[in-house]
Symmetry: C2
Amino acid sequence: MLGALAATLSLGVACSRPPPGASRASDTPATPDSASAASDALPSWNQGPAKAAIISFVSRVTTPGGREFVPASERIAVFDNDGTLWAEQPMYFQLAFALDRVKALAAQHPDWTTREPFRSVLKGDLEGVKSGGEQALSQIIAASHAGNTTAEFEQIVTDWIAAARHPTTRRRYTDMVYQPMLEVLSYLRANGFKTYIVSGGGVEFMRPWVERVYGIPPEQVVGSRIRMKYEGRDGVPVLVRLPEVDLVNDKAGKPVGIQQMIGRRPVMAFGNSDGDFEMLEWTTAAPGPRLGFIVHHTDAEREWAYDRRSSIGRLARSLDEAEARGWQVVDIKRDWARIFP
Amino acid sequence: MLGALAATLSLGVACSRPPPGASRASDTPATPDSASAASDALPSWNQGPAKAAIISFVSRVTTPGGREFVPASERIAVFDNDGTLWAEQPMYFQLAFALDRVKALAAQHPDWTTREPFRSVLKGDLEGVKSGGEQALSQIIAASHAGNTTAEFEQIVTDWIAAARHPTTRRRYTDMVYQPMLEVLSYLRANGFKTYIVSGGGVEFMRPWVERVYGIPPEQVVGSRIRMKYEGRDGVPVLVRLPEVDLVNDKAGKPVGIQQMIGRRPVMAFGNSDGDFEMLEWTTAAPGPRLGFIVHHTDAEREWAYDRRSSIGRLARSLDEAEARGWQVVDIKRDWARIFP
């Protein structure tokens, strides 16, 4: 039943280039921005077409009386999460959570040591997990994401995100967010925009930490979700998380999630993969001023470089059609002076 | 497939008392508020326990350093719509919309003149529609709410709400909102609360007009919804509304809708029927300061009087358990100096 979600989380754990060492992105100097830092809301962006496009667009839609003025209430900006706001290599961070969760639960499930796909997870054999395909991942998601209450799951995620470390950089996952994008979020909010996450990742996996990390409140997170059931446990009402998919907020599911949760069409959209194609299309095909951005991972030194051949964050069609559709491509190597905070 | 939604919309069109005449609620003077109007954010509320409870609660949760202080980001207040923010007699207003919509579409469906339940609708025979039960209503909802795009449906609702008139008062439906509740909405927002609608009604039926009428933006409306599909029509991306239920946001569905859309537990909840029981329970059973309100329709002169015997807005269990659960009952006759704007 979780097959569709499993496909979203993807078992692809390879990427087109080897992961970087543990060097801090900020260790690598890049072309400094020529504008004065004090007056610059986007100091981690190098001067160039991407930065100019952001500033120009915001200026146009916020100029009262201007031809392209957009009232504050309609200034909705949507952001993909994996690969757009934080890194996604060598595997989606939520998959790392799922695998860790299986390990944490193993003591309660002695049969897992001999039962696939859990056996492979417990041995650290990702290839073995992968050979089980979508069904294997569905079982892992059900075991790691369902069966508890929303309050319990929130605590589990909160504890994990505070302690877990990225396999190659050894940094906390929440330290592997993109500093230039944090600046875009703040800059847009300072200009009256409401910023939303619109991610294929699980909504309840993001909500516990995104306000602290991105300044985005839980109610502004659109994500994939499983079904919930309201019931009483010992006289206390709870919402129980069921092993059934409710929404796969990826590809053509993103405009659906946006309409369900926001009910307005965004004016800006930021993505990085073909999973964001429909979100970018839905945003920018509407009348009035609209702008789409694609973050292109081009910097193998400071981060990762991957696009059309990557099983994670595959970027082909969105890149091919970007120019014709007027979408702005952010070339990380060229455009970002700094990667992580 | 729309059975569950149909049940929510309900075919009950009777109520326990005859509908009032067209007299304006404001024609009937009531005990004036003893506080000075200038300093009073709730001028349409008579002094009494309900008004005092609202003011006391807001004062406590907004006093910095106070024992019950709640940060602004967590000040979430949820409001049922039908019977809480606007009237719901002699039938849910959305049902009136559905019936009008069937009439508007009849010319394109010649067979409807002989095919139930459409035949009964076109003859104005509500009893005939009712005899078809849930299945009849499902067919009416599918015909009136699905098959178009989100943009088309928004326009249809916008046009209808601007023109349609209530069957007995002859007022516009959006003029049959409760003035005292409009004041509560404004008062809470002025005190840093985020106000949400959480209704069994259709989310896309409410979104086109709630910002203008209640000051609640589309993204703060939680409601029942049907499925949508993203597709291209002549190269233009659209979201098509399908005749399949996605969420019935009523009873135990309300906490689910709240969690899906808001992801935080509200601190205040306002309802009027047993369909709001679980929303009130979910809100007030949480730790910390919480307050639940039940609007009790007790005024047959200025509005309608109904509760446990009404097929619309049935109120029995919520009323019976209110005292034990600490829910505040708003007695319209006693507490509201004015009903409609």
